[in-house]
């Protein structure tokens, strides 16, 4: 009898512990609370794509996506260096965000209807516009996509590129063989070793691989034109509206800073600006930050940490990659970057 009772008690105890582990229901701003408590932002980035996210020889992360993480960390914690970067493959990235392994995903991720809805995610304003591009060996003498029928194409799994090229080649009545490898280094080296005739990815990713991964960069050419729309943006979980607002408005702050001439260097001086838009953004007047759960100086801290959007772009896409801004210019200069009103 005693044994029986002990067994019963054990089962009861075990089930109690399990029930006790029931997930906590969403309180106000769980992500913000967690980030503040941790004193560190956990940001999912690409494993290695020049211009977006790449670790240098000392292990320091650089890139446009990385700067977005830094700006958010600065706005929330007052210090752009309080970020832990988690390099993610194209397949792992969404589960990592959904499961809470990362606070935000700033990883060359295209906004699509499916990702926005079925994945339970929210995407901020696009921080980069690009489209599927193709790189081939120069000696093949190829100048346009129509000549790629029958080619072997190296492509990341689970990317929008994978679907784009399937649709593109089908619409042109051409065949191709996709070679699908998740690890970014392996994939690029498969192309460089000649396993594939073509390397396909967001066009903005190609110059970096051409410059740094090819033995002789001039042996390769990037074909003209983009073959899809790829608005890249930072994503967060859809169940935390406040955190979504924070990531969204930090990006808008960077756009507006460029438009209003606020730079990393002059941000302190600009606090005394006569333009009420500028002083409101920098927290010298009013308290915009409070409305999204942050301090007064949130935008000031973000700009101090990474500069305005134009500075972020130039830092990552200037020499040696030299990618022209094109549609990534401000709307006032004919581009698509449009900061929403800071009111």
């Amino acid at each position: 009898m005693r044994k029986f009772l002990m067994a019963a008690a054990l089962v009861a105890f075990a089930s109690n512990t399990i029930i006790g582990a029931e997930p906590a229901h969403a309180a106000d701003g769980p992500t913000l609370t967690a980030v503040k408590k941790r004193g560190e932002l956990i940001c999912g980035v690409h494993q290695g794509r020049y211009g977006f996210a790449i670790a240098d020889k000392k292990g320091k992360w650089k890139g446009l996506d990385v700067d977005v993480c830094k700006a958010v960390a600065a706005a929330v914690l007052g210090d752009g260096n309080k970020v832990k970067y988690i390099p993610l493959g194209s397949v792992q990235r969404f589960p990592a965000l959904q499961s809470g392994q990362v606070d935000m995903l700033s990883r060359t991720t295209t906004i699509t209807l499916t990702r926005d809805s079925a994945l339970g995610l929210n995407f901020g304003p696009p921080t980069f516009y690009t489209g599927t591009g193709f790189m081939v060996r120069k000696k093949l003498g190829i100048t346009k996509v129509d000549q790629l029928g029958g080619a072997a194409i190296c492509v990341f799994p689970g990317s929008t590129t994978e679907k784009n090229i399937a649709a593109l080649f089908k619409s042109k009545g051409m065949k191709m063989t996709p070679v699908v490898i998740e690890n970014s280094k392996e994939l690029v080296s498969a192309y460089m070793a000649g396993r594939c005739d073509v390397l396909a990815m967001d066009q903005a990713g190609l110059p970096g691989h051409q410059q740094y991964d090819a033995k002789t960069p001039s042996d390769h050419v990037i074909l003209d034109g983009v073959y899809s729309k790829e608005p890249l943006a930072a994503g967060v979980r859809a169940d935390d509206d406040q955190w979504f607002d924070i990531t969204k408005w930090v990006v808008h702050a960077l756009f507006n800073a460029e438009e209003w001439g606020i730079t990393q260097a002059n941000v302190d001086k600009m606090k005394a600006s006569k333009d009420p838009n500028v002083t409101r953004l920098l927290g010298a007047t009013g308290n915009l930050g409070k409305k999204i759960g942050l301090g007064k100086s949130w935008a000031y801290d973000a700009i101090k940490a990474v500069g305005n959007y134009g500075e972020v772009y130039d830092r990552n896409w200037g020499p040696p990659l030299n990618l022209a801004r094109g549609v990534n210019e401000l709307w006032t200069k004919g581009g698509l970057m449009y900061g929403f009103p800071m009111k």
């Binding site: 029986f4 019963a8 089962v11 194209s90 397949v91 339970g120 689970g158 063989t177 699908v180 979980r237």
Partner: protein, 392 residues
């Protein structure tokens, strides 16, 4: 006192009954497991719901929208996720079964070579086993993948014999053009195998009853090869080869094995072969030397001793661990994902990412591997019973 020491049966509580306790404990365990299962299921659903993540199996009927590099069944990006999963399962089965076949051949050969009295042969086999067994299988696969990438481009492909090409795009071989006679040749082959089996049974029956030994190998082989050959020759011996030819980027025509397939196949075969070789060696060495000496004293030939004395007893030791090697080979085939072979995991990962339905995609993968593994287990258990020595 005496009454306390031996209480009458009808006074004993049912809780003291061993039969009751056995059942009660098992019921409790089942209840606990059922509760745990329900809890996990409910928890997953609640969390998915809370995060607005899509659930359900409807996505299987939607078009996949992406292509795969190789498939046994024809596949096109406008076909459904269900079909692309099927293509992935078939690719997994393809590499796993060919791998199991080749690893078994390699393992048996190397295992027997290891106990050979020829110094060079046994040392070569030992070196093979020790090197391949002690390197992680991931490195095997990546190693062969890198080696294949070093091969020349299709335009400078190696041509070992007329119509066969080796390049960094894989191995291209000529293949006979389909002919109306070929199904009949295949039918004759099946008949031939059946005939050879019947002959072997008869020979065994005869040996067990009369003690007269009839060799099965040559008559068996000639039935298996001869019958289809006869059908083919009588049908006019039709044979046209479809040669691979360089068109545009790559070779068209003939049959081709992709570099990813070859690298994965060699990697997992060589790795598992080393383990099977050790199992075969231990099986052979488990037979007491006295039996071999006794057989020799009776004047039996070496091959005869191996086949009728050693192997039947060694199989008892060999079959069960070999079955688990087959299982691990099948599961190791999922490493194809590293080098881009479109196996189940590769396709499952991509689908997971395109649809966002991680729970469903992973459940499918688990279920498929479970089914394949259980099927192999059942078959190997059946084979083990077949070869087990009946103790009399």
């Amino acid at each position: 006192m005496a009454e306390q020491a031996h209480p009458p049966k009808n006074n004993r509580s049912i809780l003291h009954s061993i039969a009751f306790r056995n059942i009660a404990y098992q019921l409790l365990l089942v209840a606990a497991l059922a509760f745990l299962g329900w809890y996990l299921y409910d928890n997953i659903n609640e969390n998915l719901d809370r995060q607005n993540i899509a659930t359900g199996w409807g996505f299987l009927n939607e078009p996949a929208g992406f292509d795969i590099s190789e498939s046994i069944i024809p596949f096109d990006s406008s076909q459904t996720f269900a079909r692309i999963f099927a293509a992935g399962v078939l690719n997994t089965l393809h590499v796993a079964f060919v791998g199991i076949f080749l690893a078994t051949l390699l393992g048996i050969t190397m295992g027997i070579a290891r106990v050979s009295r020829n110094w060079l042969v046994s040392k070569v086999a030992s070196a093979y086993v020790e090197i391949c067994r002690n390197v992680p299988v991931v490195l095997h696969v990546i190693f062969w993948s890198s080696i294949i990438r070093l091969l020349p481009h299709p335009r400078q492909a190696l041509e070992p014999f007329n119509g066969a090409f080796i390049s960094n795009r894989g191995l291209m071989l000529p293949f006979p053009v389909d002919n109306i006679l070929y199904p009949w040749v295949a039918f004759a082959l099946v008949l031939g195998i059946g005939g050879a089996l019947i002959f072997a049974r008869w020979a065994r029956f005869r040996r067990e009853h009369t003690g007269q030994y009839i060799s099965v190998f040559w008559p068996g082989t000639s039935i298996i090869v001869g019958l289809p050959l006869l059908v083919w020759v009588l049908g006019g011996a039709p044979l046209t080869w479809d040669y691979p030819a360089l068109k545009g980027f790559n070779y068209q025509g003939g049959i081709s094995l992709s570099p990813e397939y070859i690298a994965l196949l060699i990697g997992i075969t060589v790795y598992t072969g080393a383990f099977i070789a050790e199992i075969v060696r231990s099986g052979i060495e488990s037979i007491h030397r006295g039996q071999i000496e006794a057989s020799r004293a009776l004047g039996l030939r070496h091959g005869f001793i191996m086949r009728f004395i050693i192997i039947p007893q060694a199989l008892r030791v060999i079959v069960p661990p070999t079955a688990s090697q087959f299982l691990s080979l099948t599961k190791n085939s999922s490493l194809g994902v590293l080098i881009g072979y479109p196996d189940l995991v590769n396709i499952g990962n991509t689908s997971l990412n395109q649809t966002g339905q991680a729970v469903e995609a992973i459940a499918i993968m688990m279920l498929v591997y479970l089914t394949i593994s259980l099927t192999i287990s059942i078959f190997m258990n059946f084979y083990n019973k077949l070869v087990a020595i009946r103790e009399r």
